[in-house]
Symmetry: C2
Subunit: 311 residues, 2 copies
Amino acid sequence: MADARAPIFEKVALIGLGLIGSSIARGARAYGAATRIAASDASEQVCARVRELGIADETTADLAQTVTGADLVILCVPVGACGEVARVIAPHLSPGAILSDVGSVKGAIVAQVAPHVPASAHFIPAHPIAGTEYSGPDAGFATLFQNRWCILTPQDGFDGEAVRKLSAFWTRLGANVETMSATHHDLVLAVTSHLPHLIAYNIVGTAADLEEVTQSEVIKFSASGFRDFTRIAASDPTMWRDIFLNNKDAVLEMLGRFDEDLTALRRMIRTGDGDGLFALFTRTRAIRRSIIEQGQDTAAPDFGRSAPREE
Amino acid sequence: MADARAPIFEKVALIGLGLIGSSIARGARAYGAATRIAASDASEQVCARVRELGIADETTADLAQTVTGADLVILCVPVGACGEVARVIAPHLSPGAILSDVGSVKGAIVAQVAPHVPASAHFIPAHPIAGTEYSGPDAGFATLFQNRWCILTPQDGFDGEAVRKLSAFWTRLGANVETMSATHHDLVLAVTSHLPHLIAYNIVGTAADLEEVTQSEVIKFSASGFRDFTRIAASDPTMWRDIFLNNKDAVLEMLGRFDEDLTALRRMIRTGDGDGLFALFTRTRAIRRSIIEQGQDTAAPDFGRSAPREE
């Protein structure tokens, strides 16, 4: 029986050392998921910082060198950059290597990356659902994926040795692995992630543009609800631009539903339909309870942002 | 020079012992803001619980008895109930007593309460901007108002002895006090609080009603953005029904602006305007920074809901 702590991959190559890439590097080392970690980033500044942090065994801007000999290569660059990186590294992938990514959309990634992947390699798109509103190699940490979901969307079916190995890697980093089709992934994420971000970006933009209420008042009194939106509206602009451009159909579909519901809600307010409002607000409260029960958030009031409790 | 810890009021009467009322009771005692605290709640069950908790010096369902002899009376009931409570207690208010409230809307409160207030009492509407998504006397805590804003909307001008005393009371409980007109308050809160709650209620409702994505998937993958909305969509349904019914005009006005901006954003996605999206997402990030700088939220990534950081 194999040692539970035996490395799952010999050489893991990470392309892009932002929040996610640097967290994978830290996690893979902390939990012994890889014998060796090679890192590459298009920015020389990021490469230098990764060397200073010492979170990889080799760090270079040279993509070919980074992926050579790797049995797992993970693209941790913005969605819009994956196709070009795949094109460059494809000739250097080892036979049998697994190529994966961490992008928040999967259909567009498949369309952009798959054409470049040689038949000798296994392409398994992945999406670890974890993150903070910070970016860059300093923002990462080893426990980022603990108790978070990682969705795999293998094109060739949901079993097979390559899928099992990649699944074992993410499990070692603390994630719970789920598999589904790329299309279903994009619909699920459109509602759980992309629409919420879109709405948050929009409301923060609206609040910033008002004439009757100053920006300083909005900031001052933000604790009354607004600030909950500003955290996700502070997420990386490049990453989110790419997500909306690459999951357009599902996002516009979900936005259409949101809009229909908002029209109904607006009518309830205008006509003074207190019972209708009360019924909706009671229903939404139950969903919050389920999220807490399933450990996807804490029940601590106000997320511990209030002053410490003491009587 | 008076002792800084001398009580500010002799007898503070609190009507309604939910999250806010019970936090005022605890805070007033913890920081010595009142010599005596009298509590009243329409629910006998709540009264019994308040007696068990021992957070007031006298607790009764009898409103007249509670306010008799009080130099400060605070209505901590839902906005829609303030008018009726004011009518009942008005004949029992002591000469010179200050009558205040904690409602999230101010124009409607003035319209409902002011007609009942005798000329011998001072009516100063107030709104402490603090709370959690929990309700009831057990949910309160003494430090709830620490470093939070409390807005006073006095009708007779922003100075005078009564305003100074009420201001001192809230300052003693740890709040920062600001004064403005009731009309301006309602506009500011419509954007910083009421619109965010409306949007959060709506998106949680939309997500619950989808056919293509199951409710269990929405809950499972909520960490990707959705859960940030569920906290505020779990707020007290009665309280929020009353807020929307009582600040209708300002809410519908802000919702109109939000809708215009959303139409523009939707067009950017449909036409693939990456530069437009990037510009908006960069602008909203700056507002988040200001909120953190002003201490209205912590910079801790993900509000500390991730597993603890360790390398």
